[in-house]
Amino acid sequence: MGILEVKGVNKRFGGLQALGDVNLSVAENTVHAIIGPNGAGKSTLLNCLVGKLIPDTGSVMFDGQSVLGRTPYEINQMGISRVFQTPEIFGDLTVFENMVIPCFAKRDGSFRMHAFESVVQEQDICLQAEQMLVDVNMQDKRHMHAASLSRGDKRRLEMAMCLSQKPRLLLLDEPTAGMARADTNNTIDLLKEIKSTRDITIAIIEHDMHVVFSLADRITVLAQGTPLVEDSPENIRGNPKVREAYLGEAA
């Protein structure tokens, strides 16, 4: 029984069957990649996992509890963090303030009226945020406005924000989309390090096969809203069905 169990999920947008009977099981402490050509329903599936969309039928269980009908912040509090395709950070705030917010969310829950304490006097939280910045090697940028960071740094900051909450499941939506090769390799190294040093399950949606094959323990191939195969990276590489889905029948 995996930490994330998706059973019989269907999602329809008008006449378009975006997801058709998706079954997926992500085992704990593994990296599970979901790949597929454009329009295969990868992002729709992800949105169903984080509460942005509600599937028409089927169930999504995280650690034995259903996530359906819950809001994104409730799902996050259950232990699922999400990294977006384009980094979503607090651009108007400094890097340090960006790091502090998830630490507060982890400690205080979805709302707490702490209007009279001072942020700088919350030493535990500040130390935690500081440590995380050191971990991702961004401590010298702590006073910069997050919006002025480079794309790669924004990605690292977002990843660090998610990790500081110690999530049990980290969802990555094309983390290397639009990145230069060097930045992509840095991201792979960062993810490998995360995987080896933490008890964490990672589900990753990705186009870049290089990223997928260097990280994933398990791969699910989606095509036209339905899982085509689920297997280990070695077997996926040689699978004719996968080639067909990606390259068309002529290949």
């Binding site: 994104p72 996050n76 509090q77 607090f90 108007d92 009279f116 010298d140």
Partner: protein, 407 residues
């Protein structure tokens, strides 16, 4: 000290000194001199400065931090005023219960309006608050006449009960508002040379309350709660996916700013015990938006500056009429004098809005951060002049260049 940093302490001290010494600072010209009409150091106007300062400080907690632009905050001000006057009519002429009630009623009212309006954001939120404020204005103006006394406005009368006080004074007049016996209108005149400084009890009560209100807003700005409000403005999506529910945060900010507005309304009624529906009109709501933006939205001291700036214009520029202008330009030849007066005329007196509008446009265009940004730029200019040619080597602020990641 007081749980704030050294830099904030300096700002707070500046506000305290400005507020407490206002009778001197706003009275720079001797009475009887030609410039005396630019003096703003009389109780009535100084009270308005600090009361609108409180209103703008509260508005800034909502607009400056969360970015939610409410166009209906005057409704809370009006509700506060009505509550305070009712307290004077029914209980006693002491301002303390009146101010407390005005804060409570405005707070409850803002929970109601905020809960509905905050279901939408952006322009829809602004329109919803505007609609609510106009509804309140019209209710106060006509439908709720038994409570608000309609277009005449709510006033004290000799037949009011005042269960804890007296209905009529011994001399047969309506009693005046007081703070445990200290009359709000009592003023001490200090004549030094040609100057006449006025120290008014009501002003000092308002000033002290404004200092407290400023301190509270400072604490909110520096708190985790304030940080979350700024995060709401910056990226609600990320906040949601970080496990935080933005709704209660924005509602709390809305209610806090509503309470501030109620406090301002209560103080207004305490200084002059009457309340009219026009205090709730949309122009009054727009005014506080102008104050906050002019001073600098999202800054601590900006709203106070903006409030002072606009109220000064409203009261001083509007008093300059053609007679005064002719006096000023009397040294010119007759024909030229008339021409100059003709040109200046639209910008003063009743046309003060024109001057204010032009200034507002200039500030928003060239100083998007408001008057505060202007101050910062001037400060920077001075610093640059003072700074030595070669910057001192400070390893902490000049980190070694790190090798580029792409190698």
């Amino acid at each position: 000290m007081l749980g704030i940093s050294k830099k904030d302490m300096t700002i707070l001290l500046v506000v305290i000194v400005l507020a407490l010494c206002a009778p001197f600072i706003l009275n720079p010209f001797p009475t009887g001199s030609a410039m005396a009409q630019f003096n703003a150091g009389y109780p009535d106007l100084m009270q308005r400065f600090v009361i609108f300062g409180i209103f703008a400080i509260g508005f800034n907690i909502l607009f400056g931090l969360t970015g939610y632009l409410s166009f209906g905050h005057a409704a809370f001000l009006g509700v506060g005023s009505y509550s305070a006057v009712w307290m004077f009519k029914l209980l006693s002429m002491n301002v303390v219960p009146a101010i407390l009630l005005s804060m409570i009623v405005a707070g409850l009212f803002s929970v109601l309006i905020g809960y509905v309006s905050l279901r939408r954001s952006g322009i829809y939120f602004s329109i919803l608050t505007l609609a609510f404020a106009q509804m309140s204005f019209n209710l106060a103006y006509s439908v709720l006449t038994p409570i608000t006394n309609g277009e005449t406005g709510l006033q004290l009368t000799l037949s009011d009960k005042r269960y804890l006080g007296q209905s009529v004074t011994e001399s047969g007049s309506i009693p005046v508002t007081n703070f445990f016996g200290l009359e709000m209108r009592s003023t001490y005149d200090l004549a030094v040379g040609g100057w006449n400084f006025q120290f008014n009890a009501g002003y000092y009560l308002c000033a002290i309350i404004m200092i407290v209100a400023f301190y509270v807003s400072m604490r909110i700005f520096r708190s985790p709660f304030g940080l979350m409000l700024r995060a709401v403005k910056s990226n609600q999506q990320r906040l949601n996916y970080t496990g935080i529910n933005p709704k209660p945060y924005t509602l709390a900010a809305f209610v806090i700013s509503g309470i501030y507005a109620g406090l301002a309304g209560g103080l207004m009624a305490s200084m002059d015990p009457l309340a009219g529906a026009e205090r709730m009109q949309w122009t009054a709501s727009g005014e506080v938006v102008l104050m906050t933006i002019l001073g600098g939205a999202g800054t601590l001291i900006g709203p106070v500056l903006g409030a002072g700036f606009i109220k000064y214009f409203e009261n001083i520029f509007s008093k300059i009429n053609d007679t005064v202008l002719h006096q000023w330009f009397a040294f010119m030849p007759d024909g030229l004098e008339d021409v100059v007066v003709f040109i200046v005329h639209p910008f003063v007196g009743k046309g003060w809005h024109l001057t204010l509008g032009i200034l507002f446009m200039l500030v928003v265009t060239f100083l998007p951060g408001g008057l505060v940004e202007g101050g910062q730029r001037i400060a920077k200019l001075f610093k640059r002049e003072k700074a030595p040619a070669v910057p001192p080597s400070d390893p902490e602020h000049h980190p070694k260049e790190t090798p580029h990641v792409a190698e």
